[in-house]
């Protein structure tokens, strides 16, 4: 026990007492924020993307001008009128304008044109085309001789509400914003687990390979058993991971409870302490599954390059939920998602997403966690066997088949 503790302590310090770890721990949440939430925020708030550049508009119809001003005003985008059509185009090219919307005098009989230097600012011409088609519809109905009050009636938007049903049938009203918040939270959590599990898995694999390449393995095995060495490594790095998550959850807790209310910014509602609990739990489960896998492969690999080649099956299993993230959020009850939320190599991430966006039954959760624990046990036993045989093997590259044969031994 003292030996295991000593190894755990050493591995923990090797992983946590360095600058990379500290920087990752502090900057991690910001990075996650940057790659998940920012792109969404930016594309829904084009004035940031456009760098405050105005949109050039020429139109002879005051109705159109007014409607555009109102729509773009909400997005903090200024409208300007260029002196001529040519100047409008020129200054789009020179980068003074985000784009140039030219509405001809004969509009709506003759179509409007949006000039852009990239053609990709979907939000800009999306807004423009939305505004124009609403006005055009109204104008055409007017021209058909329908009275004004009837037009209002025709064009009135019907009500639409989004309600999420919890397991206890309690109704919870959601707005479209809540849905976006949920999507980004799910994306953030999935990215967090994916990145940390990959990082720690590879750290463990590398740490095992390094015992061989740094030739420390013989000294270690002359003092401790192979099993103590492997479990010490996994526990040490696991502790580093828990520390990292504790810091992150703590930071989120501070933002939710103190800084958020004080500075009047809020995280998406889905970043609740309850969901944080699931995040940490599923991180740990995913961590131990992949740690055992990487430890086994690390002991079979000749060097770090070889480890990279051997690790592809683990990578694929980790990638599956990443690729399916959007269908999973849109349709958490589909049979594929349900199956993936029980399959142990993908279930930690998939079940977490299901928990965030829907309400899986308690027995589903129990089954998922039970299967995970069983697999972790089985995989550790297998990994320990591969480790015992493989840790001393050097100078030859083993194939998957040979490695699996070691695992099958007595």
């Amino acid at each position: 026990m003292r030996k295991l503790l000593a190894i755990t302590k050493r591995e923990f310090r090797a992983a946590a007492a360095n600058k990379t770890f500290i920087i990752m721990t502090i900057l991690g949440p910001f990075l996650i924020l940057a790659i998940t939430i920012l792109p969404g925020l930016l594309s829904s708030n084009p004035s940031v993307m456009g760098g405050g550049k105005p949109l050039a508009v020429t139109t002879q119809q005051p109705v159109v001008q007014a409607a555009l001003e109102q729509a773009f005003g909400q997005q903090n985008i200024q409208l300007v009128t260029p002196a001529s059509e040519q100047e409008g185009k020129d200054r789009v090219v020179s980068g003074d304008y985000v784009g140039y919307l030219s509405v001809p005098a004969a509009w709506p009989q003759q179509g409007a044109v949006y000039y852009s230097s990239s053609g990709t600012e979907a939000n800009m011409f999306g807004t423009a085309s939305g505004v124009l088609s609403a006005i055009a519809t109204r104008l055409r109905i007017q021209e058909a001789g329908i009275p004004a009050d009837q037009i209002e009636q025709l064009l009135a938007e019907p009500g639409f509400q989004l309600i999420r049903l919890g397991a206890g049938m309690q109704e919870e009203e959601k707005s479209e914003n809540d849905f976006l918040g949920l999507l980004f939270t799910a994306l953030g959590f999935v990215m967090l687990i994916y990145m940390t599990v990959l990082l720690y898995g590879q750290l463990i694999g590398r740490s095992v390979v390094q015992e061989k390449t740094m030739k420390t393995v013989e000294i270690m095995l002359s003092s401790v058993s192979a099993r103590q060495l492997m479990f010490g490594k996994i526990l040490g790095l696991g502790l580093a991971g828990i520390l990292q998550y504790a810091v992150w959850v703590g930071m989120a807790g501070l933002v939710i409870n103190f800084f958020g209310p004080a500075l009047n910014v809020s995280l998406p509602a889905a970043v609740s302490m309850g969901n944080m609990f699931w995040l940490v739990l599923f991180f740990l489960l995913a961590f131990f599954i992949y740690a055992a896998g990487y430890a086994a492969l690390g002991s079979a690999a000749e060097d770090e390059h070889h480890l990279g080649q051997l690790a592809w099956p683990l990578l694929i299993f980790l990638m599956i939920p990443m690729v399916l993230i959007s269908p999973m959020v849109m349709n958490p009850g589909s049979p594929l998602v349900v199956v993936l939320s029980f399959f142990p190599m993908t279930s930690p991430i998939v079940m977490l997403v299901r928990l965030l966006v829907s309400s899986p039954a308690w027995w589903e959760l129990a089954l998922c966690i039970g299967l995970l624990l069983l697999t972790i046990y089985g995989l550790s036993v297998m990994a320990a066997k591969i480790f015992r045989t493989g840790i001393l093997m050097t100078g030859k590259r083993y194939t998957f088949k040979e490695i699996l044969r070691w695992a099958a031994r007595r």
Binding site: A6, R10, A14, K215, V224, L392
Partner: protein
């Protein structure tokens, strides 16, 4: 005490160790000698239970090695390796910790050894700042700091300068005086000759000779004479009682058929060479090694 009984180890197609037997007693320095690739490291790894023998038996103090015995054994592997990012002091404390040694006593012993080897000032430095020789000394200290009763050293002298080799030889003799069982392997015969009581010479996985150094020498040594001279000594090799001649610039080492031939040799030289020195040589382990193993393997003369 280490007892190795008829141990065999076969790697895929190579027979690495073939029925090797020997006993290393407490308070004794036992030398496992042989050319590179003879099976020394494999034998030591089997004693350490790092690899399992295919057949045969290995006993430590009368019983097969148990996990708990690891605390009583110090092992310096041939493949030297230390955790590079750790400080020397931390690393030594860690190595004692996983041996289950008493913290304070181990730390004191480690400090004593660091001072003895003149590297105490490096205690707070990281391992990867050490020179190769210093790292080796640190590794040696890591092997002995928990005060093990049984010590196994695989090629302990390789990579050390002559000064450090002497320090290590002295350390071995001190440990022996404390009653430790010491087993070490080497292909440098001078080291074995300086400190071993008993040796086992293996070549191509098999035992060649074993026994106390004195026995081995009297049994396998042949009388030899060293002559330093001026003149042309080409005729010496052709003399009937001369078995072999090793030539050096202006000196010869002549191996004779029997001790009685020294007089004949001396007479034969008279008048033909200007002899400046004529010395009876004790048979060296080196010459026995070369004669029995046949070829002078690289490294065997770089003592």
């Amino acid at each position: 005490m280490i007892e190795v009984k008829k141990v065999v180890k076969q790697y895929d197609s190579v027979l690495a160790v073939d029925k090797i037997s020997f006993t290393a007693n407490s308070g004794e320095i036992f030398g496992l000698i042989g050319p590179n690739g003879a099976g020394k490291t494999t034998t030591i790894r089997m004693i350490m239970n790092i690899i399992a023998p295919d057949s045969g038996q290995i006993l430590i103090d009368g019983h097969p090695m148990r996990e708990s015995d690891k605390a009583r054994i110090g092992y310096l592997p041939e493949e030297r390796g230390l955790y590079k990012k750790m400080k020397v002091g931390e690393l030594l404390a860690f190595l004692s910790e996983i041996k289950g040694g008493d913290r304070k006593a181990c730390a004191e012993r480690a400090d004593k050894w660091l001072t003895r080897f003149g590297i105490y000032d490096w205690k707070e430095r990281k391992v990867d700042e050490l020179s190769k020789g210093m790292a080796q000394k640190v590794q040696f200290i890591g092997t002995v700091a928990h005060d093990p009763q049984v010590l196994l050293f695989d090629e302990p002298f390789s990579g050390l300068d002559p000064l450090s080799q002497d320090l290590l030889l002295q350390a071995f003799l001190d440990l022996k005086r404390q009653g430790k069982t010491i087993l070490f392997s080497t292909h440098i015969m001078d080291h074995a000759e300086k400190i071993c009581e008993r040796i086992l010479l293996i070549n191509k996985s098999r035992e060649v000779i074993s026994g106390s150094l004195a026995e081995v020498k009297s049994r396998h040594g042949t009388p030899a004479v060293r002559i330093e001279y001026d003149g042309n000594a080409g005729f010496v090799a052709k003399l009937p009682f001369v078995k072999s001649v090793r030539e050096f610039p202006r000196a010869l080492e002549v191996e004779l058929a029997s001790v009685d031939d020294t007089d004949s040799l001396y007479s034969a030289l008279a008048g033909k060479l200007k002899v400046r020195r004529f010395e009876l040589l004790e048979p060296s382990l080196h010459s026995i090694f070369i004669r029995l193993v046949g070829t002078d393997k690289e490294g065997s003369t770089n003592a």
